[in-house]
Symmetry: D2
Subunit: 436 residues, 4 copies
């Protein structure tokens, strides 16, 4: 098994976090899976990911004080392994874990993923719980000084201790039995509580990889949170499939704009099985689990900003994870997620790189891998409409090519290897250049 | 009560750490107290301090793997308050805590101190234990992201939570009832696991101070570990009595030599009730608790280096804490600890400052507060004997003064306000200048 | 000579920078000196300081491109010593330097000061100019890697080179001959172009001190720019009289508000001859030299903010340097600068310390050194009027004392050691507590 | 022109620095070129590079005090362009510059390169010298705050000034006229005097690139010094051909060992026209120009360490620059530089990556681009001989392949995809795996 075969192109899917925070239920997951199978699967969308704290009792019930209630009950088996909270995931009762839910999703022709926190439950360490396949106990392998800065559930695992790899093997054995296809591991890509040692979980990344290899199941490994460390690019590329190159992205222009920095930095690190990750798409309705009253809000990104986001993610070839509740998708948002010509870049382009960037505009350029075609994206970072120009003369582009804009489906012309176009504030144009 | 009145001059005492690590017992403490009362009290020595993990069961029993066994049993009352381990401190049984031992020490005419870790026991938080005088529980006030980098026992306390000050009040109420005179609080002066926020325990320093004031008992407050933060000097001076200006000092010349940096930095911050602390004196026999076989070693400092240490601590006016097992004191070491003319500087000098320092020598100068006398210390940092000169002409010193060396009890002469003297490698001379 | 005798209390004066930038002329200086002698001298104001680039030809003539024209002509003698530009300082012609101007000011009963940049002129190094009293030339002592980040005139001087101290001796010999009473040396307190070595000019501070001592003239030494380094407090205190604890202060509330951080930090470092410096007072009309059209602006600080500034500077005991053109002083501003009861704190108070500070208010407390009186200042940091309380009960203040507010000359009462008062937004009250 | 075409494989050549420092002469350069043409050209060696300060009068004449004499005479034309010192480069007299020397080298079938410092001569700025093709003068474009930390010759150029690009155009016009094939620009890859802004010369890299493109001559651009900034990898790759990934490498094991860190970091950044540079090879006799007495020393690297260096540089595909005086080459050193099977990796391998690394050993793996062959290098970092194993089973290597060691020309066998071999202390083995 070669881990790069687990994800030949950037994964596309849905993640429960942006809408549900810690509160997602089995019914919610199934409803979104049903929607995806019916409306999005045909465009390449396939992963359904259950995000953080599916094991936590009463998750979200003290949202005014805590996102993650500290020192609280979790669902755990006799081997220190966290299980789904049966109140929220009824099919998991009786030790079945996520198996039934995974089967449901597989039967829809989709794939199933879960979020985990790096490490072993703190409570398992304090209670000296057992670990499968070893005489060591949780307190033997837990590192009392290795914690997450923003979630109170786990202690890091000390690789030098007997039983450490066995612990990771034991949880991935379980996940493989359940039928998990994708694991998003958190507090591991950048352990930002340790600013002098943000890659303190390096050993744990290697243990995760080894545990996956031992399962024999091609489980995609996604690492969070960002920003990923550019000096560890070679290590992510060796052991993982996805790594978050940014802190959490939300629906704010400043955060979106900042992604141009991140993509610039990582542009030469996208390859088969290796995908720098721009984070979930905060489109449509968001945030139900973030408020005590379960109120939601509609994305604060303008339509032009949403196009900018989709264009950048697609030409850069970031994984695409829908953050909204899909059953509430409106036509506009759905249109963004089903533009086959744009989504094509995820599967069939490569070599994307930034041609120009200053405070007011950005140009990216890429190539189709199947057709004799190139792509150029123009982004307007300024607060007003702007006339932009992409100069492709040094890229060998000649004026004989046809030019098609992939969002508005219009055409354009090349003059001396240049494309001139007006772009709305914070907006984008994405052109395909091809032989007539 | 004014906290500066609790320690008008630098405290002098004995601390169990350098010899016993976590393993000290009641019998050990008493034996050392007996020794101090018999042999050292007359020179001003008065504190007996029980250092780290007096509450921990089996402390030191896994010394090959851990200094502090993580996730292990501790002695704790129903209010989340740690108590002495009754196996090691039998008189504490039946809820008497350190009361009987404190009484024993008081009856010898000495004072009693204990070490604590900042925060509340982790196990109390995980078990939702009560806190005296409030409806809040340990899990309500414990901050799951505030830990010590080198000891696994506690979580920091979040001042913004109801019950936080009550918790600190409750433990100092207990200490006052026991008769504690001195508290050395650890993981608080520099919370070095957080390099971007080493003063993360600022609020807890203020809570400690408030709790002490509420007891009505003049409990000296000592903060560890170092290095203390010079930009917080004003805050230490406002709320504490002692603060460690260095990481742990052991019996190595490099560490001792480094103390000249620290004393230079803090020279203008020594005043009544405010004592920058150079750490314990690693003299004589050391380290029984640090090895599984209980082997000990004799200090690696040469005799000259030991004089340098005593001279610097005394002219700078650091607190003096003996680290060795006193019942094993040899004549040489005893002589260092009972030189009344040298120890006098702790009680009766002020205004010490560094006159010169380079890679090979240092000169300090100070004044007696009762007599018309000054002090000058010359230190030889080089690896060979050196002829040094202290130029005191700019300090108003005239050649009419008498000069006495306080270690060898010899005399010297002033020429044009200068003292010339030979000093052995790593050694020191301490002169008193006075009117005949 | 003891440098601490050169400035027993914080210097009070006028500085040309805030109004004239690099463009001040002899006539301007005399006009301000005349004004001070006539109207302010009686309140303790005495220094007249000529700030930056008095030696630069055409200074300020390219203000749209440069504050300091790089690679331009300077007035310099045969020994690499900068002299006043004779176009702007006509009395300096014929080698008289600032002598005539200093005499003029002395005859008014005032004192005279100048600004210098650390180091030796770059052009002197490139032209291999001579240095008085040594065979070395400027190129021998100039350090080509030691420059100022914001002014292009000088190279730092390498103390290890023969001729280095002689150069500093030679310029202070000149200044003493001219009759200079005060030197503000810039690019030396914090050499901020070197973030890893901001105290790179440490040796030059010592050379300055030595050069001053050799003159036999009590020249006050002021170091800029800030922020001064708190870990070098002992070194400033040993060699200098004033050191800037902040970057340039201008007439913005944010900058003024930030000074509470700086004063908190330095509160325990104010003593005879040692004055942490809060920078010039940007009051009245400002900025003529900063614009090509010589337009000026009136301070952007509100009247309440101005009181806050004066109150903090006086209770903290910062040096006071007027930044405005004094001949344009209006009655309000003049009243701030001539409140004898407030200015009294500079000469006759000590022990000031911050009692309380949070995001909305600050309380400082101090003592009169001649009378049985204390001072308390309350500052309102919030954007609206606020009812504040200073709790002085722990400071031993009893309700029998009389209370007088020193700006509005009103009275107040103590209740249980507390003063309650309303303070306008960004404003201050300064109370004197005394026995009737 | 595409800059990646200027260097399809890593450049191989000789550089004057390690032997001559600043003192190299035309005769020295010719002698080395003659040697290369006669003995090394056939193995792919082709560049002859004149390193630092070829323009400086009296270079090296004050070597006891300075490596680079500050504020000294340089050879410069009327347009602020540095020219070769005619004393050391006689053929340059009469304005011919390096033209005659370049011709000489070209006639040998070799290529010619020079070293430059970023920026414009300081003396040109102070003297307001002209710039070709613009009305601006050197003082208009020189940035007085942009200097090199270790060389005193230049000021950085401010791209925003009119005349800035023209200056760089003018010097490259000259270099192209001379026939320069390679420019090593210094103080630009990492401007380490500015630790908070080490990429302060970003604009100047772009100006260099633009100036080269304008010449129409394929001049290879090499950037120094290192360490290059991994977060700017994309920018180096866009504008330059080589960039130094390390500070100066000298003949010390510690420095060589450290190169494994650097190669690990940069392993995924080697491609056509883009070569992370491990610095010159300090082999054979070294250092004549570094001592006043012109004494030389023989490399301090052991023979095994030398093999390690050659092996790492070749499998990683670093540029290879000989540092020694070639006319003094001994047989051993010559054998290292003429092992065709090893050098083949520079031209005909790709995809090198590190398989394993710990404190005692390293394994690298790569592929031939023309033959069905792979390469594996084993390095022994420990201080004693060690039995090492390279596990290639996960790389798809089967036991049917033949194995040849390329230094000792021995054979080895594969067992279960593993090669076992003994490697001397600090030594290396380089195996080729191929189908019989």
């Amino acid at each position: 098994m070669n881990k790069n075969q687990f994800a030949l192109t950037p994964p596309m899917g849905w993640n429960s976090y942006d809408y549900y925070d810690t509160t997602v239920t089995e019914a919610d997951v199934k409803a979104n899976a049903d929607y995806m199978a019916a409306h999005l699967k045909q465009y390449g969308w396939e992963y359904i990911i259950v995000d953080i704290q599916w094991y936590a009792h009463d998750a979200g019930s003290q949202r005014d004080r805590y996102q993650y209630i500290p020192f609280w009950d979790v669902e755990m088996d006799e081997y220190s392994r966290l299980l789904p909270d049966p109140k929220r995931f009824p099919s998991s009762a009786g030790g079945k874990g996520f198996g039934p839910l995974a089967s449901y999703i597989h039967n829809l022709g989709l794939k199933f993923g879960i979020h985990i926190m790096r490490g072993i439950p703190r409570i398992a360490a304090h209670n000296h719980c057992a670990i499968l396949g070893t005489a060591a106990h949780a307190n033997d392998i837990a590192n009392p000084s290795s914690i997450c800065g923003w979630n109170p559930d786990m202690y890091g695992v000390d690789r030098s201790r007997e039983g450490a790899q066995e612990y990771y093997d034991s949880i991935f054995k379980l996940y493989a039995e359940w039928g998990v296809d994708y694991v998003k591991c958190d507090d591991i890509c950048n352990t930002n509580i340790y600013p002098n040692n943000p890659y303190s979980a390096k050993d744990e990344i290697e243990m995760l990889h080894e545990a996956i290899m031992k399962t024999g199941r091609p489980i995609v490994l996604s690492l969070s949170p960002g920003p990923a460390l550019i000096d560890k690019a070679w290590h992510y590329e060796k052991y993982a499939n996805l790594w978050r190159i940014t802190d959490d992205l939300w629906d704010k222009w400043d955060l979106l704009r900042n992604m141009f920095d991140r993509c610039e930095l990582w542009q030469n690190h996208v390859s088969e099985g290796c995908f720098p990750d721009c984070d979930m798409l905060p489109l449509g309705w968001l945030g139900k689990g973030f408020h005590t009253d379960q109120s939601t809000w509609y994305t604060n990104l303008t339509k032009d900003e949403q196009r900018t986001m989709m264009t950048l993610w697609c030409i850069f070839r970031s994984p695409l994870m829908i953050g909204t509740e899909m059953t509430r998708l409106d036509d506009w948002t759905l249109s963004l997620l089903t533009n086959a010509e744009v989504l094509r870049l995820l599967q069939h382009s490569k070599g994307a790189r930034q041609l120009e960037r200053d405070h007011s505009h950005v140009v990216w350029f890429s190539h189709d891998t199947e057709e004799a075609a190139d792509y150029v994206a123009l982004f307007n970072l300024s607060d007003g409409k702007a006339d932009l120009c992409a100069d492709l003369s040094e890229e060998g582009i000649t004026d004989q090519l046809s030019v098609r804009e992939l969002w508005d489906k219009g055409s354009a012309t090349l003059k001396n290897g240049k494309i001139y176009t007006a772009v709305p504030a914070h907006g984008a144009k994405l052109f395909k250049l091809y032989i007539k």
